[in-house]
Structure formats: structure tokens, C-alpha cells
Amino acid sequence: MTDATPGTETAERPMIRLDRLAKRYPGQAQAAVEELSLDIPEGRIVAFVGPSGCGKTTTMKLINRLIEPTSGRIHLDGQDVTELPVHELRRRIGYAIQSSGLFPHRTVADNIATVPRLLGWPRQRVTERVDELLTMVGLAPATYRDRYPKQLSGGQQQRVGVARALGGDPQVMLMDEPFGAIDPQNREALQDEFLRIQRTVRKTIVFVTHDIDEACRMGDLIAVFGENGKVRQYDTPERILAEPADEFVAAFIGSGAAVRRLSLTRLDALDVPEWPTVDADADPERRLAVARAQDREYCLLLDADRRPAGWLPTEEADTEPPSHFPVFSTLGPHSTLFDALDLMLSADTSTVVAVDDEGRYRGVLEMDTVRELINGERTAAGHGRLQEA
């Protein structure tokens, strides 16, 4: 399954191309990485996921030559990486790791300025870059610029670590469990923040993790590593969860794949079913007509801007002014089916109103719709995340 081009991908330019890459250590019967070929498309996050010792970190370190391959080629933006002096190659590749690896004897600003200074940027530009990056990762430059790493919390250190990796504005970033040491709650916030940053910087990113949930969350594509750096499946998170290539991948995903798929399906990628609606300022006869034309218990009232205004009980459709129940449960286009199901269960309701960015009505999701979507009876409009590019 070391297929170099995942099935659903359209022809995108590969930024990193691994060509029959292998790494063997002397005295070890098993190769650390065995004959790996993989294309990493430009501007995408590719998650390397697998159990410990599967060669995912080794493969990542082969890319910036922290580890030299035994055989095979690595092309970065079309160029063989061995053609460049190794330190010049590395200055073009951002690097962020779990323990952050910040220089404890240097200030936050000096840490972030490391690569820009190595690249010989003028002082003024370095200072501006540091402040820009601190702002980007959500740390106020004036407050944090002159602090030392030990004066920061774990989460803040990771932010600085990411800012430092972005320092020289590299085309490519290598990240090895960059949020691994953070508690789950803050990790999720950091992941979201990083995805937000990625939407603007559009780097090509190799993201190593052992956590399939994190891989699904962060990766546009996922490479599932088995033993000896063998990639068992390389595809979108949706397809890996829906159609694991073999038993190894299925076992690695483990139980709960259906629920994970829910969180991968964004509402803007769905044709949300229609629901009987009526204008809030329509006259009683019109309301009654709409109510009688359908068999639901409630119709949805929309205001002049087509925003949900309330639930109109079918039985009392013609009372004046219209009696109605407030709409508590609306979800925007960036919410997922997981959010929808969560809202239904926590708000004890069977309907969730889907709205667009301006809060206007798009449709109504029911528990049954969600169930059909999980079972694949209803087809989604497309792959939400890959379309957003």
C-alpha cells in the first residue's frame, strides 16, 4: 500500500517527494525505514501516524537530513536535498518538536530570531518578523518578547516553538508531536489555533503523531505507518476511517471510527435537508396553509433576513400574534456533524437548524439524517476540508 498518490487527490504539485527511501542501521536485521515512496502535496498537512517504533519520526528526520538515508532520494520542491549544503537545507525547513527544544539561555525573541539571523536578515526585518510571529501565535509581543522559556507555561512554550519554526518563513515544516506534552483541553485549542494559522500561511507540513484523532484533526492527508516505515495507507482522513486498507489500519484506527467520521464532516459540505418554513410576519391564513401542507409538529419561523426566529406549533399556527418556541440550537457552516449530534444529545432535541455565516437558514438536521450520513445512505456533497482550498 505504498501508493504515492492517494486516490481522491487531484494532481497537486508535490512539495516533498520521497523516492524509494530506506534507512538501515548497522547490526539491525530490520530496516528502520524500508523502500518508502511518498508525495507530499504543496500547502497540505500530511500526518504521519502509527505506533511507536514504526519509523514515522525517522522518516521525518530523513527529510531535513538529521538522519542520513541509507538509500533512496528526497526531493524538496523538485530539488534533490543532497545537492544543498545541509545547513542551508535546514534553514528552509521549519522544525517543531514535542519538548519545544527552545534555547533556555535565550529570550523568546532571540529564539524566534534564530533562523532569520542565520539567513542574515537585516536587524529591523528580524525584529518585525519576531513581533509578527508572536502576534500570530497569540502572544503579545510587548509582554513575551523578553521573557525566557522557563518563565512560560508549557502551552506558551509550544507556541513559541511553532513561531520559531516559522521564523525564516520556510516552505516546509516538520512537526513531531508538537502538542504532545500539552494537556488535552489546551491541546485542542492549540490544534485549532494552528489550523487557523495554517489557513493563512499555507505551509507544506509533515505532522508526526501517534494519535489517530490528532491525525484526523490536523491532516489533510494521513499516512498510516506499519512496521519498518512501511506506509499501509495514504489517503484522506475520511477515506481511511471509512475504508481502512487492511486489518492493520483497521486495528490502528480502533473502535469509534464512525464517531470520528462525524467530526470530519462539516455542515457546509452537506446538502442539509429542507424543513417547512414560514415568514414570521406572514398573516394567520398563510401560516395555517403552510402548517397544514406538512406533517411535522412544528414549522420554522424565519425573520425578514431569513434567520430562524422560532418554532411554530402546527396546532396553533393561526394564533395572533403567532405563539412560538425559541430556537436554541443553530450551527454554522464550520460546525461538524459531531457538533450537531452533540447538541442534539445535550440539548435533548431531535432537530438542529443549520445556518450560514450570516446566521441565515440553510436547513434542518434531524437525528435520523445524522444516522443516515454515518451509514453512508446519504452522500455528502464532497470532502469538506479538501474543498476549502
Binding site: R91, S99, L102
Partner: protein, 215 residues
């Protein structure tokens, strides 16, 4: 004649000897740093060579000081030469070992990050590894200095400079009224130097340790 009366009569001799003692110790320490730190840098990431040099430096420290000074007369003659060389040999272990320990105790993630960001090997060493290992190395220098201050007294036995001469003169004139005074002066001089050097090292540590390190 009390001790203080006696001291008033020869304090210039004591001052000269104290200064010479301090200079002798610093020379020995300086040479040990010039040899020990490069050797540490060259061997700290190796296996067998590192064990070998640490073992050798440890061996030097076990040679009785009186014997070592004496043995060095043959190749180096009398005076300052053999004294400095002997002290260098004794200082080598604390300097070398602390340099190796300091360099090896660094967080591998920090060093890996430095390499991964495209720092060249000399730059990693000079701007990351040595500054981070500096507090441990400095502790080694402090220990070596205290060690050398005592051992340097033996230098007098090979006609070397320093406070050992006062002690030796006292021993040579044992039985005369002022013999003990001479010896006490020599000892007090060494104690005074030990206190002064320790304060200097404490100050140096505070001034030169990077702000982000330490407590």
C-alpha cells in the same frame, strides 16, 4: 614576641608569597582549561576515548603530590616550571570531567533543534552547548582552584614560588621560637586565598551565567 609582632616584621614576605601562590595556581588552572576543555569537546560524544581520558585524568590525581613534584624535576628542572605542570595535571580531572558532564547533560531536544534550524557544528558548540554547559564547567574550575591552593604549597619542595616556602622554612627551623609563626602565616595565607577565590567564583558565576538559566 607575639605572632602579631612577628607578622609585622615580615608581612611583606608573606604578601609576596601569597601573590606568587595565587599566580602559580592561576597558571596551573589556566593550562588545565586550555587542555581540558578542548579535550572534553573532542571526546564528550564518544564512548571509549571519553572513558580513557577521564580515566587518565583520574589516575593523575592519585599520584602523591610530593612524588609528582619530585618526578618532574628530572625533565623540567627546579622552580616554577615543574610546579605549574604538576598543578595542571591535578586540575585536569575536575576541569575535564565537569566540562564533559556539563556538555553531556544538555537536553538533546535543544541541541537537535539547533542543528535542525541549520546551525553549523561550531556555531552549535559556541552559541548553544558551551553557554549551557558553562555553569557546570565553572563549578569544576571552582573545585580545581580549591584543590590547587592546597597542593601548590608542595611547590616549595622543588624551589617553586608561593606560600609553601613559609611553611617549609618553618618546618626546617623546627624548635626555634618562631618556627610555628612561619608555618601559621603560610597556612593563613592559603586560607585567605581560598576564601577570596571562592567569592570571586561566586561573583563570576552570577555575572556570566545566562539569565534564562539557574533558579
Amino acid at each position: 614576641m607575639t605572632f602579631l609582632d612577628y607578622f609585622a616584621s615580615n608581612w611583606t614576605d608573606v604578601a609576596d608569597a601569597t601573590l606568587a601562590h595565587a599566580v602559580l595556581v592561576l597558571q596551573g588552572l589556566g593550562l588545565a582549561v586550555l587542555i581540558g576543555v578542548p579535550v572534553a569537546v573532542a571526546t564528550y560524544r564518544t564512548g571509549a576515548p571519553r572513558t580513557a581520558v577521564l580515566g587518565f585524568a583520574g589516575l593523575l590525581l592519585t599520584i602523591p603530590s610530593y612524588a609528582l613534584f619530585g618526578l618532574l624535576i628530572t625533565p623540567l628542572g627546579l622552580g616554577t616550571g615543574p610546579s605549574v605542570v604538576a598543578l595542571t595535571m591535578y586540575a585536569l580531572l575536575p576541569v575535564l570531567r565537569n566540562a564533559v558532564v556539563g556538555l553531556r547533560a544538555l537536553d538533546p531536544a535543544v541541541v537537535e533543534s539547533a542543528r535542525a534550524m541549520g546551525m553549523t557544528r561550531p556555531r552549535v558548540l559556541l552559541t548553544v552547548e558551551l553557554p549551557l554547559a558553562w555553569p557546570v564547567l565553572l563549578t569544576g574550575l571552582r573545585v580545581a582552584t580549591q584543590l590547587l591552593l592546597g597542593i601548590a604549597a608542595i611547590a616549595a619542595a622543588v624551589n617553586g614560588p608561593g606560600l609553601g616556602n613559609l611553611i617549609l622554612d618553618g618546618l626546617a627551623s623546627a624548635g626555634t621560637p618562631y618556627a610555628a609563626y612561619l608555618t601559621v602565616e603560610g597556612c593563613l595565607g592559603i586560607v585567605l586565598l581560598a576564601v577570596v577565590f571562592d567569592l570571586l567564583f561566586a561573583g563570576l558565576n552570577r555575572l556570566t551565567t545566562a539569565k534564562g538559566l539557574g533558579a
